[in-house]
């Protein structure tokens, strides 16, 4: 039996610690580039490799991106914030301390609501304890060459601006943790504060997890375990599923409560599908924080927060509900469009506004435009058909001038030639059939096909198909759906 689904009810309690690299050009305290993938140790200077006598100066843009993120997470922005030294000794940390924030982080007490378009998960308001700004460390890797037991250090990443986002233990399942991360990443992507690339380490997640077990009217908390080394949101979910099961078994075997044993750190092994205890660094948890005398504090005024707030633009949650309320989209459709990013969502809004049919615009963008973008390997910003031009085409589809299949042909022509729908239709010999012309044609067909009319009147509506076939023979440009509608209307008038 899977222990997480055990009949005995217990809560799984999860809190997350997310590190996000900010999308600045240069590092937090020096002017070295933050570019990923440069040859090792080519993006360093005396400051970021910890030479004596150097002094850090804060990157204004990094602080602005940090503020934008915190404001978007509904955090309180501290009017006064300072930086502290977190002291520990590690080869990828050349100064012997990391510049971080301890007792006066620049923001605290925010929240973010999880979202599940399928409605399978409850909307969970996840509290944000704090968001603070710190510098990243370098990277160490084991030297496998010649069996030497050395480690190799690349300090390119040292000093890259890093946001640490710490949540309350508010999530109650691994799926909720994944939903939170998905929503957080979407928000950060909309803000453009980070590229959130987990493979390149721009977004890193650690999780704290334990169980709350009801017993004799009390709730017993089991020891908290910190899980590390998860390289995708899916891995986070799987690691937490495994860990919840493992902790339940351990609780049943040992009955250990929080405080009975020191906090444990475990690493996720994705291939083996399990977590393993990591080496205890109990000594190193004594970080001896103290204010960094090299950096002066930062004061943020309410006016500055106001300016930041106004600059944020529409954020995913608000955009989703607007697409639903203003354009009649389902939760699923609005989620798909919003997940494509700000540019595509705004393309949709422009098309929907101009063609007047949000549902139609959503269908075309999801079925055709997204497929085309994938095939052409381009983003909506480079797509040759503007929102206005697509709206023009969709108006013709909406009014029955074109059916979906002809509409697709026209769209193809618009992409190839860059011409508007009207011109492409001329070129392809697709003339819009005038409504009165179409009605006349339908009347003619009814006169010529009394038997079909009688069949339809007798309830065999599918007989109308033969009329549509005849109509297309006489004029290939007719819209079959519209022929069907008009014929049915005329027949019902006769009855």
């Amino acid at each position: 039996m899977n222990a997480t689904q055990s009949a005995t009810a217990h809560d799984v309690v999860i809190g997350l610690e997310v590190h996000v690299q900010l999308a600045t050009q240069s590092k937090l305290f020096c002017s070295c580039a933050t570019r990923f993938g440069a040859p090792p140790n080519t993006l360093t200077c005396p400051l970021c490799i910890g030479m004596p006598g150097t002094l850090p100066v804060m990157n204004r843009h990094a602080f602005e991106l940090a503020l934008q993120t915190a404001v978007s997470l509904d955090c309180q922005i501290a009017p006064f914030t300072k930086w502290d030294r977190k002291n520990y000794y590690y080869p990828d940390l050349p100064k012997g301390y990391q510049i971080s924030q301890y007792d006066l982080p620049f923001s605290h007490d925010g929240h973010l609501d999880t979202y599940d378009p399928k409605g399978n998960l409850p909307v969970r308001r996840v509290g944000i304890i704090r968001v603070h700004l710190e510098e990243d460390a370098g990277k160490s890797m084991h030297d496998e060459a010649a069996g030497k037991s050395d480690s190799l250090i690349d300090l390119n990443r040292t000093g890259t601006p890093l946001l640490e986002i710490v949540t309350e233990p508010d999530m109650r399942s691994p799926a909720e943790a994944k939903a939170f991360l998905t929503e957080l990443k979407l928000l950060l992507t909309y803000l453009g504060v980070s590229d959130c690339n987990m493979q390149e380490g721009s977004l890193r997640v650690d999780a704290n997890i334990n169980l709350h077990v009801p017993r004799n009217g009390e709730t017993i908390a089991t020891p908290i375990v910190e899980v590390k080394n998860m390289n995708s949101f899916r891995a986070v979910e799987r690691a937490l599923e495994y860990e919840a099961g493992r902790q339940w078994e351990e609780w049943q075997a040992t009955g250990q409560k929080m405080g009975d044993v020191p906090k444990q750190t475990r690493g996720w092994d994705d291939a083996a599908n399990l977590t393993r205890p990591q080496r205890h660094k109990e000594e190193s948890s004594d970080y001896r924080y103290f204010p960094d005398p090299d950096l002066v504090p930062v004061v943020v005024s309410p006016e500055e927060i106001e300016v930041i707030t106004k600059s944020l633009g529409e954020l995913p949650a608000a955009l989703r509900s607007r697409l639903e309320s203003e354009y009649g989209l389902s939760a699923y459709d609005s989620d798909v469009l919003v997940n494509q990013g700000r540019s595509l969502a705004s393309y949709f809004v422009q098309v929907a506004e101009a063609c007047g049919n949000g549902k139609l615009a959503s269908n075309w963008i999801q079925q055709d435009i997204l497929r085309l973008l994938k095939e052409r390997q381009e983003t909506i910003d480079d797509f040759p058909v503007s929102a206005a031009a697509l709206a023009d085409l969709l108006r013709k589809v909406d009014q029955g001038e074109l059916d979906t299949s002809k509409g697709r042909d026209v769209l193809g022509g618009m992409i190839d030639s860059g011409q508007p729908a009207e011109d492409v239709m001329l070129e392809l010999g697709i003339a819009a059939v005038d409504e009165s012309e179409l009605t006349a044609l339908c009347e003619q067909l009814l006169v010529e096909n009394e038997r079909i009319v009688a069949d339809v009147q007798a309830g065999k509506v599918q007989a109308i198909g033969a009329l549509i076939g005849q109509a297309k023979k006489r004029n290939p440009n007719v819209n079959p759906g519209r022929v069907r509608e008009i014929c049915l209307q005329l027949i019902s008038k006769r009855a």
Binding site: Q25, S31, S140, L152
Partner: protein
């Protein structure tokens, strides 16, 4: 003396310093003197005085987000006791 041998042992471990018993004795005594010296500040009455976050009154010192050339790798690695022309070489780092 305000500093115990145990405290110095712990600080030495945190700084990854290996001290002989003799060194531990002399450093405990030297560090203790420094701590005692600084301890004099405790005699000042700070009742009602706001703690300072920084010795200077200045705040909000920023620079623009502009890239400037980094050190040539050769120079960056020049002071390292060991390197392989690309990376710094250090004794094995275990785990994560």
């Amino acid at each position: 003396m305000s500093l115990s041998r145990e405290a110095v042992t712990k600080v030495a471990l945190l700084a990854r310093l290996e001290l002989t018993p003799e060194e531990l004795d002399s450093i405990t005594s030297q560090l203790g003197q420094i701590v005692d010296y600084v301890q004099q500040l405790s005699s000042v009455d700070t009742e009602g005085v706001e703690p300072m976050a920084h010795a200077m009154e200045q705040h909000n010192v920023f620079r623009a987000d502009e890239v400037r050339p980094s050190l040539p790798r050769e120079e960056a690695l020049a002071n390292a006791p060991r390197h392989n022309d690309e990376y710094y070489r250090v004794p094995a780092v275990l785990g994560d």
